[in-house]
Symmetry: C2
Subunit: 355 residues, 2 copies
């Protein structure tokens, strides 16, 4: 997919300037979408929702969000811009628009990916145009673009210098990790897409991390277990699905959920992670009691699975996951980048031990 | 200001419920506003903009934002809610609505303030009502409420249980620190008001930290130096005003700015902080060069001041201020909570040495 194949040339007048820039527009169709659980899902969805009709409606909708998806390419452009469209312009009050509707760009260095810039969404329109980074040296670089985490992405164009090179690339990874979980896995409230903990774990371990987070959900429904079982090549499955599951759901569903995954993945390590200690429970006694009950029930099911002879199961308790100073969340529930940094240290270390 | 003095009783029907709750509404007028540079500023403004008519218009407007202001009170309420109004509902795309338009609550413990909850703003209306924390034990606690950082606050009511106690309180501090700076001091992009670095510094050192941050500004104008000189009781003045000042402005204004502050504050330590290494400059060569020039010029002015005999000047270079892994900002310019945590460690340690 060389530059010469890119035939669209786009002329536009930049605001506040009389200069006319000639630029290359590289449409989404030119890229191989990476980070997906399945090949050939429609649009930028994580799953084919028409195939998994038994999933709860909310879960189906959430899997249309492009969390964890990304593209990589090489170019010697001096400027990188994006034009893109999300399904709506709504926002959460506990997160940044860049995280929910923006893009996050990194550039490959010898020691890993380095932050390059973000594409800030237009707050009033579904369609946005933004410069990610400009005034770069015209040397060839490999770019990584993380997709918006919390809004369905409808389309995007990458815009580079008129004469810049362009090669779509695909990353090789050492391992594939599937993370099933709640809003916290989905990415709330990282400040930008690349700081969601699955994305950070991927960079840290050079792993293909499949983000199967579903905000406000992850209640271990049987239909979800069936769907996750279809993901073929997992070297590790992380279950971070306690936060929104009631104590009763955890008691009733955990065993069968793992049993179903074991049927399709007989040897794959499964890492069960307790809910982070949501700091709403610092003073809300009901939340505090509920959290203890959720985590206690999860641990009991882990022990039950072990007693039933299930192997390759690992467990992370809630202790210290987001630190002990009460400053790791934006709202008492969702980790900030500080909370994620702390989670990542504990979860990342555990994953390295498992591997 | 005992509970018996609070005569407003407010009955409302909670959404989705037939229960009627009787609650006390404590209006803003019952609270002593803390964290202000001057007594008796209008509304919840940081300065009396009518008095400082020579300030740039943008700076005047920014000092109507309640950044750094807070109230404290004791109550044995089981539920804390807020009803409040900000001047508009606009948002930044690189920050959370909770930071710009919400409140952040802490509760005093023997070892310091502990996070209790946030008041999430309504994204479509200027007026919001939100529960901060509920289902608390009915023991007396001391609450700290940080005000929204980035939108002018017009009014607020604190809502507690009908029969709960209420005492407005005022904190005693060991020191007063004035921080003059850009959006970074103002609070972008902390995830919530209590995580702005001036607020964190205040909790860390039990200091009365006066947030004089002005987003997109802090260019050391003479009128600003005059205004800051009127703040009487500073034990330390921090100048974190490099980011938006051009290299030329830094060269031309720094000396006179310090000279003016010295006239009113002959002995007060002044800590000059270089701009954080904005990661937009990872690949944007112009940004990188500009940053180096800004910081170089600031250091030259620091040295010039020393050579001119100015004493009690301290300096922090940009090195490591937001870490070295390129993950400390949301957009290449504004620190996330991770960036602020790193800045706070360096700045906080330096301040402890000065004191």
């Amino acid at each position: 997919m060389e530059k010469k194949n890119i035939i669209l040339i786009f002329l536009f007048l930049t605001c506040g300037s009389l200069s006319i820039y000639a630029q290359q527009v590289v449409p989404a169709s030119r890229f191989e979408i990476q980070g997906r659980p399945f090949d050939n899902t429609p649009k930028f969805h994580r799953i084919d929702t028409a195939k998994y009709i038994g999933l709860p409606a909310a879960v189906k909708k959430l899997y249309t969000h492009a969390a964890g998806l990304f593209v990589t390419f090489k170019s010697n452009t001096s400027k990188l811009s994006l034009r893109w469209k999300t399904v709506d312009a709504g926002l959460g009050n506990n997160s940044t628009p860049i995280m929910s509707r923006g893009f996050d760009a990194y550039i490959k260095e010898v020691n890993g990916w380095r932050f390059a810039g973000v594409a800030r969404p237009d707050l009033k329109n579904m369609e946005s145009t933004a410069t990610v980074v400009e005034d770069m040296a015209k040397t060839e670089k490999e770019f990584l673009l993380y997709f918006p985490l919390y809004k369905e992405l409808l389309d995007f164009d990458v815009i580079i210098d008129e004469n810049a090179s362009f090669i779509d690339t695909k990353q090789s990874f050492d391992k594939t990790i599937v993370i099933y979980g709640s809003s916290i896995v989905h990415g709330a409230s990282a400040s930008r897409p690349g700081l969601a903990y699955p994305a950070q774990l991927g960079r840290k371990l050079n792993a293909n991390v499949i983000n199967m987070g579903v905000s406000g959900n992850a209640r271990m429904e049987p239909a979800v277990a069936d769907m996750l079982s279809d993901i073929g090549s997992a070297d590790l499955i992380i279950m971070d699905c306690v936060p929104n599951s009631s104590p009763e759901e955890i008691k009733e569903r955990t065993f069968n959920f793992v049993k179903r995954l074991r049927k399709s993945h007989p040897q794959t390590p499964i890492l069960m992670v307790e809910s982070i200690t949501r700091q709403l429970g610092n003073y809300n006694l009901k939340w505090r009691a509920r959290l203890i009950e959720q985590n206690t029930n999860f641990r009991l099911q882990y022990e039950r699975l072990q007693q039933a002879g299930y192997k390759n199961l690992y467990y992370i308790p809630t202790d210290h996951l987001i630190g002990d100073d009460s400053e790791g969340t934006v709202d008492g529930t969702h980790p900030t980048d500080v909370g994620f940094e702390r989670m990542l240290k504990i979860i990342g270390n555990k994953v390295e031990v498992i591997f």
